[in-house]
């Protein structure tokens, strides 16, 4: 199981900040997340970046058990 970290608007859309999700690639983890959290989350995810263990990752990036998959919507710091 990967550790999903949902931040800002992604956290709000999903209703949780951290969760455990099955999947051996970013694509698989995110498909499971979309199925679990629904359309609003999917819309936020569509405009978000994804990091695996703090590094930018693409759909095909591998995900091992206990890896952190973070969903980062467009940022608004400062």
């Amino acid at each position: 199981m990967a550790r999903l970290l949902l931040l800002g608007p992604a956290r709000e859309a999903a209703g949780v900040r951290e969760d455990d999700v099955a999947g051996d690639s970013v694509e698989a983890v995110l498909a499971a997340a979309r199925a679990r959290y629904g359309e609003h989350f999917a819309a936020v995810l569509a405009v978000s970046q994804v990091w695996v263990n703090g590094e930018p990752a693409g759909p095909a990036s591998p995900v091992a058990p206990y890896d952190e998959v973070a969903v980062l919507p467009p940022v608004s710091g400062g």
Partner: protein
């Protein structure tokens, strides 16, 4: 507290920010310039005529890592810069309070101004941070957003 000799001091905190300790920390015997930037809560935004507070959310370890990367980028681009402090508030910040502080010290003012501008511009695009705007009757995520990019791409 970071030792005076350290070139970098980054922080993400729910406590009120204050420039004074950062200026004191950044002031070095070889530096004739200390440039500061303070971002503060403004009473309006693009979407709301009245804003009373901002509320910031982050992942602290990821935000601290990115702030550290910005300081490293400053040292590569402006090797004379002797001190960089980058502090960001999280949680609710009231009108007029600082949300982010940038302090840069260098022997001469030109590189301190340039590096300070680089820090705040880069921070806004590279640090995982999200703000909600509080206004009469509710709150909403800020629409002034940018896709997050790596520090080295800026």
């Amino acid at each position: 507290m970071t030792a005076e000799s350290s070139p970098t001091w980054v922080a993400v905190t729910a406590e009120p920010l204050s420039l004074d300790p950062l200026i004191a920390w950044a002031t070095r015997s070889g530096c004739g310039a200390v440039v500061t930037f303070s971002g503060t809560v403004r009473d309006h935004s693009a979407d709301h005529d009245e804003v009373s507070a901002l509320e910031y959310e982050t992942s602290e370890p990821h935000a601290l890592a990115r702030l550290g990367e910005i300081a490293e980028a400053v040292r590569r681009r402006w090797p004379d810069v002797a001190a960089v402090a980058l502090h960001h508030r999280v949680g609710r910040v009231e009108l007029g309070e600082p949300t982010v502080l940038v302090v840069v010290a260098s022997p001469h003012r030109a590189e301190a101004f340039e590096a300070g501008r680089f820090c705040i511009d880069t921070l806004k695009r590279t640090v995982p941070m999200w703000k909600r705007e509080h206004f009469p009757g509710g709150s909403a995520w800020s629409s002034a957003t940018e896709p997050i990019v790596p520090v080295e791409s800026t």
